[in-house]
Symmetry: C2
Subunit: 262 residues, 2 copies
């Protein structure tokens, strides 16, 4: 017997509404990549009363476009504002949002209401996939004040995921890697001042391969998108590296025109 006084019931208050202000068969899901300690992370959310982890996502109001919905959802769930969210693919395989553990019968029992088997919640839903890159330290992962837990996972060590969210993450990573080969990255992921090893390891982490440090530095400096400072970041036990900053003008120009990274 399910306890109707728990918070799950509140969640389903929304589910059992008619949802008429939202697009019916379309949603958004955000793959939020963060970089930390030489590892590429993905931000996932977890409703403490249901099982699989999932991407931060949600429905789209009829008065907003999908980009706005993706931003809104990201902010609601993670507190992140003004993200550069990039649309990369629509996921629409028939039955992609079917879940054998979540049926009209189960919902009826939980809510005590009669649930139509054609209820919108069990209808086919396509989702627009977005990805973004964030500086890890900007995100305060503190889900305790909300009904949902929010947590970073290593890209290579993901938990079981809801529906086809594993596939969405795989495709997002593919799109991100395509992006990195043709446009500069790092501005959203690194602190204002960073070292050459910092940015090189970031590239290596995302691309999943080693890069020659000399050729890498030459490439970025000759494009003019990073500039060396006279400052040094003090480390211990070995030589301390110089600090660099992005030249935003050249960086934006490279974003516009595209570059070629091999």
């Amino acid at each position: 017997m399910i306890d109707k006084t728990n918070k799950l019931f509140d969640v389903f208050q929304f589910f059992t509404s008619d949802n008429k202000d939202y697009l019916r068969n379309l949603a958004v899901d955000n793959v939020i990549f963060g970089y930390h300690e030489k590892e590429l992370k993905v931000l996932l959310v977890h409703n403490p009363y249901t099982n699989p982890w999932m991407l931060p996502g949600g429905y789209i109001k009829k008065t907003e476009d999908v980009e706005t919905a993706a931003s809104r959802v990201a902010q609601q769930r993670t507190g992140l504002q003004d993200l550069f969210l990039k649309q990369f693919k629509v996921f629409s395989a028939p039955g992609r949002n079917k879940d054998p553990h979540f049926t009209p019968a189960v919902l009826s029992e939980i809510t005590g209401k009669t649930i139509d088997k054609n209820h919108w919640l069990f209808d086919q839903i396509a989702t627009v996939g977005f990805y973004t890159l964030v500086e890890f330290s900007k995100v305060s992962v503190d889900g305790s004040s909300q009904e949902e837990e929010v947590k970073w996972f290593d890209i290579n060590d993901l938990p079981p995921l809801l529906h086809d969210h594993d596939k969405i993450i795989t495709e997002a990573l593919k799109a991100l890697r395509h992006h990195i080969y043709h446009y500069p990255i790092g501005y959203e992921l690194l602190p204002e001042k960073f070292t050459l090893p910092d940015i090189r390891i970031l590239y290596q982490t995302i691309l999943g391969k080693e890069m020659d440090d000399r050729n890498f530095a030459r490439k970025l400096t000759s494009l003019g998108i990073i500039e060396k400072l006279e400052e040094i970041k003090h480390t211990r036990g070995h030589r301390s590296p110089y600090l660099y900053v992005f030249n935003k003008e050249m960086y934006n120009q490279a974003l516009d025109q595209g570059i070629f990274f091999s």
Copy 2:
């Protein structure tokens, strides 16, 4: 007074159905590019009883994904089969499918039925944009047997278009140009045997700029994606060009790995 015996009425038989087998707030639109006489064309359709030309598009069944829907729509409207349709963007601006000439009142008058102002037809609809490239000669543009007229338009000489279809075409062209810089094209657009000027002018037409004939030939042959035949295509008034074919293996490899065209 509107004549209810005309074919427009048949079209609206569909519109006034409940449409329950289709996703409610999502559709697909195809930008079908064709190449002919050094001009880049776009295939548009026209319902003879309503005014603006529009992209071939349609609704998505709940039992199919968006790619299948786009293929189905392309085949229904144009007879084209097995197209490589590439998803490039979702268009979802609020009100994008509003049309001041097409309202519940107008529809009521035409059909003689009472039309709810919340009818799905007037609801917000997002659309997934696809583009494709086809060999012009493969398409028989013969709309006389159908209720809709189908016609090629020069990319630089488009008629007024329905909703935001002009924007969809602009974005499709942008996506196509991005594609051509990173992957080979031509296989779907040129006849089996073609000349060097043929393929160079195709590139020039899509990119909208001149390219050096010597460097262009060197690039494609050194990549191994085209091969010279001993045959000659006989022309008049000047030297006749050699014929070339694609090396499909190298072509596919270039599609997989990506190339760089400057």
